[in-house]
């Protein structure tokens, strides 16, 4: 945040914002925790529960970034926004492409399995049986 805000600004505007973000974080944590304890994974299905938990986490993270990390004031600075933009893009690329190619690769039992798994042990005998 730039240096030219008045002390008043901090007292009147910024400190209340800190309390606000703090509450968001605490409430978010409690919500996720309570939801898990109430067993939303069983009720809504695992995928939905994941989406729920991650959405709450993203809300919490955005609050931290926006206020605590001063992005509300600093995001207009090109250096920061471009750096963060690139990072987000590459992060998504890395995540999506690696996981995507893992899901999509020719593994035993996979639909698109074009490989002849000669010499591979039977799948059932591999993992846990001894």
């Amino acid at each position: 945040m730039s240096n030219d805000h008045s002390p008043e600004y901090y007292k009147k505007k910024f400190i209340p914002l800190i309390y606000l973000v703090g509450s968001i974080l605490i409430v978010g944590t409690i919500i996720t925790f309570a939801a898990d304890k109430m067993g939303i994974a069983e009720k809504w299905g695992f995928i939905n529960a994941t989406i729920f938990a991650m959405s709450v986490a993203v809300v919490k993270a955005s609050a931290v970034m926006y206020i605590f990390m001063h992005l509300k004031w600093d995001i207009k600075l090109k250096t920061i926004s471009l750096t963060l933009g690139c990072t987000v893009i590459f992060f998504i690329g890395m995540m999506w492409l690696t996981v995507g190619s893992e899901i999509d690769s020719n593994k035993p039992g996979h639909e698109e399995n074009t490989w002849n798994h000669v010499g591979q042990p039977e799948p059932e005998t591999v993992p846990t049986e001894r």
Binding site: G93, L97, S101, W115
Partner: protein, 633 residues
């Protein structure tokens, strides 16, 4: 000549008075734990040149083994037998044998040398030389900054590098020797390999990566924050742009390898199985007793997520240097400077999404393969743009054929060969045949050896006068150039043919096992005599190459004390700011803060009538037309 802006006349050509307004530094803080970017640059330079030599010596041993499998290595062999005497277990039998027996290189020894050659060349030699050494020395000067943004972080970066190098070097001398799983360290092999070399390798890599990250942060911050007044983004010399993009590649691509390194370290030290699938066998009839469930491909993904940007880390600083040198020696502005800047930005961006072209053979589905094949083809466009711009810059130039410019000129076709031969590797269907063959070796060596290394030589010859106040010998420089050019091609050109013939890389007998001679019953597919015999020719080329480098080493050290003195701070008559400082630049670089008035490549501009064919970036001269414009406004 004396440039008009710097108060050179008052200070004379050389400045013994290094301390303008700060306390006297002790020897220790000045040369060892220095925070001065120039000293750190030189520290990096000396270290990386040393490792360049080490990497080269390793490969000479390996080349001997390929040309004459299982014969004692001359000179090196007896030394190795003594220095490198630890024993290593041979799988199954329970016997142990020395890694170097009777002066011969065993298969384990060959693997160690190979793995360490790759590691040393990439992470300990080329990156520190191109990025860290030249970057540290030149970038702050070229943008008119007094030092790097965070001088102490800069020092920390060098010492992390030093620690990493130490760990790598020590790993040769521990029981069992150095890492053997290749510079790519593919798991499961790297996770289960019995000796401790791999563990050392990982620790060393974590240190080196940390060093690079600190350096990258520092470079980017410096370029963003410390540009001199008037040094707008598009007045930056292209070398600075290249370093800027390189730093971003390091910043964002290296951390995943650090993560992967930590995971592999966990695999080795804490017995986890990040990269070990269930039911993997290391030896014997029982699978390993690990929990399993890991993914070897995860390592490959994370490695190549770094690995591909890494190859651009190797080449971009080189292109930047070549650009500077070509522009200076053709006395012409760079053709399409903005195009090149755009190209390099696109290149940097795209280099993050092409990595799996190294993994076509891992059984990826055609969807993913198509994606990566497409991005790979797209990324070759900006590469071609860069090269084309450089070729265009030669057109109608009055080229000065001195040593730096000859190395820079030779870079162009050599890099061209390297780049074009990359295309068949980028296509899924052709790569299935060429992958892991000598063709790949030839491809990337054309890019890094006669490519990057030539550019680095050019840079050394070019900036040597700035660092020392003396020139290197032109005569021996040319001997070095022609020798290197010839032998480089003798070495790498035949490898394309070997690769097409199907010779695999990483074979400790140079393919003899699969040769016609050793498989008389086989009618097709085995390696013919002529392919095998190329090994000897390549090896002779390598030894010739070594001899020629002796010329360079002697020239280098001799010139530091005895080279021809330059009597001018700007011996090449260059426009960029590093030449507008005293020689060598003092701590704090500029005598007065430079102010920049124009772009970096103002050579032979007919508008500018200052009695020279160039004008420095910080020269406040106004041409007649400019003055007229100002008057009108």
């Amino acid at each position: 000549m004396e440039t008009t802006t710097q108060p050179e006349a008052e200070h004379g050509g050389h400045h013994d008075d290094h301390n303008h307004g700060h306390a006297e530094q002790s020897f220790f803080t000045k040369y060892i734990f220095s925070t001065d970017h120039k000293v750190i640059g030189i520290q990096y330079g000396v270290g990386s040149l040393f490792f360049l030599l080490v990497g080269f010596i390793l490969i000479m041993g390996m080349r001997w083994q390929m040309a004459k499998p299982n014969t004692p290595v001359p000179v090196l062999g007896p030394i190795l037998e003594k220095v490198y005497a630890h024993e290593i277990a041979l799988d199954g039998e329970g016997k142990t044998v020395p890694i170097f027996k009777d002066g011969k290189i065993t298969a384990s020894g060959y693997n160690q040398f190979g793995a360490m050659h790759g590691t040393i060349m990439v992470f300990l030699a080329i990156v520190p030389l191109g990025f860290a050494a030249f970057g540290n020395y030149i970038v702050p000067l070229q943008i008119g900054a007094p030092d790097m943004c965070f001088p102490r972080v800069n020092m920390a970066s060098f010492w992390a590098f030093f620690a990493g190098c130490t760990v790598m070097t020590v790993s040769f001398f521990i029981p069992g020797g150095a890492a053997q799983a290749g510079w790519t360290s593919y798991s499961p092999l790297a996770s289960v390999i019995p000796t401790d070399g791999q563990t050392y390798w990982l620790v060393g890599m974590v240190l080196l990566i940390t060093s690079s990250l600190l350096g990258a942060v520092n470079f980017i911050a410096t370029i963003i924050q410390l540009r001199a007044p008037g040094m707008t983004w598009f007045r930056m010399p292209f070398f600075v742009w290249a370093q800027f993009v390189t730093a971003f590649l390091l910043l964002l691509a290296f951390p995943p390898l650090e993560a992967a390194g930590v995971m592999q370290l966990m695999d080795r030290v804490c017995d986890t199985s990040f990269f070990l699938p269930s039911g993997v066998f290391a030896s014997g009839t029982e699978p390993m007793n690990v929990s399993g469930g890991g993914s070897p491909l995860l390592w490959q993904h994370l490695f190549w997520f770094l690995g591909h940007p890494e190859v651009y880390v190797l080449i971009l600083p080189a292109i930047g240097m070549v650009t500077e040198i070509i522009s200076n020696n053709t006395r012409r502005p760079i053709w399409g400077y903005t195009l090149m800047v755009g190209g390099i930005l696109v290149l940097g961006f795209l280099s993050f999404i092409v990595w799996a072209h190294h993994m076509y053979l891992t059984g990826m589905s055609s969807k993913i393969a198509t994606f990566f094949q497409t991005t790979t083809m797209i990324i070759s466009i900006p590469s071609v743009i860069l090269l084309t711009c450089l070729f265009m810059s030669l057109w109608r130039g009055a080229i000065r054929f001195n040593t730096p410019s000859m190395f820079a000129l030779a870079f162009l076709p050599m890099f061209g060969i390297g780049g074009l031969t990359g295309l068949p590797l980028g296509f899924n269907f052709t790569d299935l045949h060429l992958h892991d063959s000598y063709y790949v070796i030839a491809h990337f060596h054309y890019v890094v050896a006669p490519g990057t290394i030539f550019a680095l030589f050019a840079g050394i010859y070019y900036w040597f006068p700035k660092m020392t106040g003396r020139r290197m010998s032109e005569h021996w420089g040319k001997v070095h150039f022609w020798g290197s050019l010839i032998f480089m091609n003798v070495i790498f050109m035949p490898m394309f043919i070997q690769g097409f013939a199907g010779m695999s890389r990483r074979m400790s007998d140079g393919g003899a096992t699969y040769s016609m001679i050793n498989n008389p019953d086989v009618t097709s597919g085995a390696l013919t005599d002529s392919v095998i015999n190329m090994n000897s020719m390549i090896t002779m080329g390598a030894f010739g190459m070594g001899l020629v480098q002796v010329v360079f080493i002697v020239n280098f050290f001799w010139s530091i004390r005895n080279g021809e003195k330059i009597n001018d701070d700007n011996p090449w008559k260059a426009t960029t700011l590093e030449w507008q400082t005293p020689t060598p630049p003092p701590h704090g670089n500029f005598l007065t803060e430079p102010k920049v008035y124009r772009g970096p490549y103002e050579y032979s501009n007919p508008d500018i009538d200052n009695g020279e064919d160039f004008i420095a970036q910080n020269d406040p001269y106004k041409s007649a037309s400019e003055e007229q414009k100002e008057a009108e406004a």
